[in-house]
Amino acid sequence: MSIEIRDVTKHYGSFQALKNINLTISKGELVALLGPSGSGKTTLLRMIAGLESVEEGSISFDGKDLSTVHVNQRDVGFVFQHYALFKHMTVFDNVAFGLNIRKKSLRPSKQEIEKKVHELLELVKLSGFAHRYPSQLSGGQRQRVALARALAVEPKMLLLDEPFGALDAKVRKELRRWLRKLHNEMHITSVFVTHDQEEALDVADRIVIMNKGKIEQVGTPSEVYDKPVSPFVYDFLGNVNLFHGRLQQGKLNLGSAQLDAPDYIDKDETDAVGYVRPHHLTVERVRQSKDEIAAKITFMHSIGPTWHIEMRREDIDAYVEVELSKEEFMQLDLKVGEIVYVSPKEMKVFIPEDFII
């Protein structure tokens, strides 16, 4: 099932939770809504589910407007952030709930329900747990029960609110991979909310980055990571160094150095900020040109195969973070306290007026 969201706006009293959201999710896609807390991502998900009303704009599934369809008629499977398992029911009864409550005429037979539940429990790898209560399960197991329960009603769409938020790092990674696999097998249109960029980049076909109730960027993981369209996305996805300066004839003048800013050849004497990823900086021990920035190494540490080097700029009171591969690091033979010269391989310049409203 495809989802079209048109001009959706949502207020809570005077607080505007969503501003003019437009988004199309195609059939079978796995989409992540990514953003910091308060960005409106959960509100949007709950509106798709029908747990929040649509007051302005419309949400339609396969071209059919659903604004007036109640959540219990929408064919959506919703997985709640803290699972919302029924504590007084066994795992089996939890999963069977959506089938058991159907009207007699629509309800599968007892045997069919039993078969279905056992199939689902097998799918989520909890076959032996049918008669346990939620309190006897670990976080990851509860998460899988919640998923099985949502899938039992054969929803046309699966919505997950911070599905891995409450789990520890290792279980999280495992479940992430498993969700991806499950999605590949079942091809059910899925939307999940997360504030964890790594999770979104790892699992989703497409990522919707949200901030302050608005969509900042929509794209595949590599698109949003490699070509952020706004300073917010730059900042939110991965680390970034900021170089404040003034634009002069296609250059960003930092005072001590001038960096190429070919996008702004026509702008002159304008304050601007250059955004550079830590791994897009080159480091030299000997100055190669006057447009390199001198900085003193304050701290170095390695995480796996990459080295993170923190340095303080010599010209102004600001820090720069650089990532080097192990080979590059070995070659340079850097030491704390040493003065080195950095320059960006790739930089994106934004003019503050463009994004400060």
Binding site: Y12, G13, G50, L51, E52, S53, E55, H70, V71
Partner: protein
């Protein structure tokens, strides 16, 4: 966070039942009392509520309720402390027994206490031997109110004591605080709002209590007559207006207590929230 439109059903129905029930049983009947007292006129109202016998009844109610609440404040804190901090055999039983005054009909408590503390009663005889009369004196009234109000302070303070983080005390201890200092400077301030709220509840309950007091008080005019009994007496004389006037004064005092409790709860909540 959420505003009116909510997917959960039943708002209209539950709200309807709630407001209907509250209006029928509380709002409309209660408004009668103010309508009735306004019929009396200011001068007559003043005359009733300032007559010597009524004023004395207020005084007795006020003083005994205050004294009982004070005792309950001290012993309630002590009991809550013992129940939370120490373990000893029979603790569960005692914890359950604390609520007895809530579960036991007040009239039953009244006759039991009266007989027990009468001058020839099981306990009363020991006191009368040293010249203290309990039943049929203000001391007896205070005693009955202490019985009635006992659970309030314990049940308000207990959860607060349970919720105290032991780490904070350990931290204070590691900084060199003595046991006494820890209690005064760390524990007591945390418990104080609950203690005051329990005190006010016990006090408010004591002001209005009738069943347990009416037996032990002896009901001698100008000596051991309490305010609720004055209302009763006026009613028996079919002096509805007089009864209402006394009731209005009591209601106002109760409301002030209630507002005070609410304020305390808000204050302590804010206190907690800020810390988080």
């Amino acid at each position: 966070m959420k505003k009116k439109k909510n997917v959960l059903p039943g708002f209209g129905l539950s709200m309807g039942i709630t407001t209907l029930y509250l209006s029928l049983f509380i709002l409309i009947p209660l408004s009668m009392i103010f309508i009735e007292s306004s019929k009396l006129g200011w001068v007559d109202f003043w005359k009733v509520v300032t007559s010597e016998r009524v004023v004395h009844a207020y005084k007795i109610s006020f003083i005994t309720a205050f004294a009982a609440a004070l005792f309950n404040g001290v012993f309630g804190l002590l009991i809550a402390w013992v129940l939370v901090r120490y373990s000893f055999p029979g603790k569960r039983l005692i914890d359950g027994l604390i609520d007895l005054p809530f579960a036991l009909p007040t009239a039953v408590a009244g006759i039991a206490l009266t007989t027990l503390y009468a001058k020839d009663g099981w306990i009363g005889q020991w006191f009368s031997a040293i010249g203290i009369k309990i039943s049929f004196t203000p001391i007896g009234i205070t005693l009955a109110l202490m019985f009635i109000g006992l659970p309030f302070v314990v049940r308000m303070v207990q959860p607060v004591l349970e919720g105290l983080e032991r780490e904070v005390e350990e931290a204070a201890s590691s900084l060199g605080a003595t046991k006494g200092q820890i209690f005064r400077k760390i524990i007591f301030p945390e418990v104080l709002p609950a203690l005051l709220a329990g005190f006010s509840l016990a006090f408010a309950r004591g002001l209005g209590e009738y069943g347990s007091v009416v037996f032990i008080a002896g009901n001698m005019p100008m000596k051991t007559e309490i305010a609720p009994l004055m209302i009763m007496t006026k009613l028996e004389q079919f002096d509805y207006a007089g009864a209402t006037a006394i009731a209005v004064v009591m209601l106002v005092v109760s409301f002030i207590c209630l507002i005070f409790i609410n304020f305390l709860q808000k204050w302590s909540q804010k206190h907690v929230l800020q810390e988080e």
